[in-house]
């Protein structure tokens, strides 16, 4: 049932009336038309994008706060949300790929400096991966707040997301962290970034850098 908050064809009319008429907007222009079954050719390419999109939406729901914070900082003050960009940018780099090695966990915001190195190796306890991050020297007045790392099972981006996203953060150098709860014996994508505090008190997020390792069996 269409929800009508103003006269027909005004800004407030939007929706379908039964399955006979549709009132909506097209690129900002309100219109009314007869109801038709939407075209949905479902090409292979379209399906691939859709499944990648769905996987990323699922990942966003499972994403730890640290990951969402980075994307929300990126979207702050701009006409999109962090989730919009997380999905959009990752569809761009993952569509057509066979694995998740291109995944962007942090888009960088506020000019945060990227880690100098990041290394992920199999941990010593089942389901763990050890992550070591080295940070560059802080610019004058900046403070390195923490290093963050996430890990998840590597998989085909065109599918249903399998597993969970493990997260760990370290507030003090050296930034040696252990990701836990990963699928034992499985190849995992590890992504890490730095969070800085700038002289004005605002946070700056570095772009994430990726590595992969097999979780300890």
């Amino acid at each position: 049932m269409a929800k009508l908050t103003g006269p027909l064809l005004s800004f407030g009319a939007r929706g379908s009336l039964g399955k006979t008429m549709v009132i909506s907007k097209w690129r900002g222009v309100p219109y009314a038309r007869s109801y038709v079954v939407p075209a949905n050719p479902q090409t292979a390419a379209q399906q691939q994008v859709r499944t990648t999109f769905a996987l990323l939406r699922e990942m966003w729901k499972l994403a730890p706060a640290q990951l969402q914070d980075a994307w929300n900082a990126f979207a702050s003050g701009r006409p999109f949300t962090g989730m919009n960009k997380e999905v959009g940018e990752n569809v761009r780099v993952l569509n057509g790929e066979a694995d998740m090695s291109n995944y962007i966990a942090s888009p960088g915001a506020g000019g945060g400096l990227v880690p100098l190195t990041m290394n992920a190796v199999t941990g010593v306890v089942a389901g763990t991966i050890d992550v070591t991050v080295t940070a560059p020297a802080a610019p004058s007045g900046w403070v390195l707040t923490k290093a963050v790392a996430i890990g998840f099972k590597d998989q085909d981006p065109a599918g249903i997301f399998d597993g969970t996203i493990s997260v760990v953060e370290d507030l003090v150098a050296p930034y040696v962290m252990t990701l836990t709860g990963l699928p034992a014996g499985e190849l995992c994508i590890v992504s890490a970034w730095l969070v800085w505090t700038k002289p004005d008190g605002k946070l700056a997020y570095s772009v994430s850098v990726n590595d992969s390792a097999v979780a300890d069996a």
Binding site: L9, W26, R27, G28, V29, P30, Y31, A32, R33, S34, Y35, V36, A39, P107, G108, G111, L113, V114, L116, P136, A137, P139, S206, V207, V209
Partner: protein, 279 residues
């Protein structure tokens, strides 16, 4: 408000109220909608390409060496520029210069191209070099000099020649000779040992008091090549004339210095040839 018949090439357009309501067929279904607002043209493919380039440049900036990003921050502090602007300029080849901590300055190829094209305003002839002229810089034939050369002089007594007679200076010594330009076997000649560009300076001083004129003549391979007129205006010290030439020489070409005094016999001293070339 008038209801207008459909115009133009649009198909399935119904009579509409121009500027207010449009009726047409969409997806096979009748549709009434507000008149579409005027829209600009779609972006040119080149514009789209540049936008995509810019987007990728912004992403690449985030992965740059932190030391360089810090340098960008310091360089742009207090300016309207953002650090990422520096990176974008760098990716575009438009960043003028990197001032390295060790004092080196690194310029982009684009800067080299820009400077080179601006110098083309002065000269576009390959091989020319820029020389500061009296008004502007000028392009002149290039002498990559200094590789070989000679200074040949006459240290013996002054040479004397009759009035209006052309005399050939006989050199007697050389202070530098890096290519066997001169020898006692042919003391009047500067003989080119290897082909290439050469710069010659011939000079000689006509002695004596009086008001007279004279010519300094440079001959090449037995033929007059160029001359330089000199004059003395009642100076007791005499007058010196000097002729400078730049010439492309073949191996074995030879040059001679000849003099002629008008109206009176003359003696010639301080005769000298300086030659330098890039053979």
């Amino acid at each position: 408000m008038a209801v207008l018949p459909p115009k133009g090439k649009t198909v399935d357009r119904r009579p509409s109220m121009k500027g207010k309501i449009m009726q047409d067929v969409s997806n096979g279904a009748e549709r009434s909608r507000a008149w579409p607002r005027d829209r600009g043209k779609s972006l040119h493919p080149k514009t789209k390409e540049q936008m995509e380039w810019f987007r990728q440049a912004q992403w690449a900036t985030k992965y740059m060496d932190p030391k360089m990003l810090v340098s960008f921050k310091e360089a742009t502090a207090g300016t309207p520029l953002l650090p990422r602007d520096m990176a974008t300029m760098m990716f575009a080849g438009r960043l003028f210069m990197f001032d390295m901590l060790d004092g080196r300055k690194i310029y982009s190829v684009q800067v080299l191209k820009d400077v080179s094209e601006s110098l083309d305003v002065i000269s576009q002839t390959p091989g020319f070099q820029l020389v500061r002229g009296p008004v502007y810089w000028e392009g002149v034939q290039r002498i990559v000099g200094g590789r070989i050369g000679a200074i040949v002089t006459r240290t013996a007594a002054s040479a004397s020649f009759a009035s209006n007679a052309t005399g050939t200076i006989i050199f007697t010594a050389e202070t530098i000779d890096q290519g066997a330009f001169w020898s006692l076997a042919a003391p009047t000649r500067i003989i080119i040992p290897q082909a290439g560009w050469y710069n010659f300076t011939f000079e000689s001083t006509r002695s004596g008091t009086g008001n007279f004129s004279f010519d300094l003549l440079v001959w090449k391979n037995g033929v007059l090549f160029t001359s330089q007129r000199g004059a003395n205006l009642n100076s007791s010290a005499g007058a010196m004339a000097r002729a400078s030439i730049i010439d492309f020489c073949a191996a074995g070409d030879y040059y001679e210095l000849k003099v002629v005094s008008y109206g009176a016999a003359a003696t010639w001293s301080a005769s000298k040839v300086v030659v330098v070339g890039n053979a």
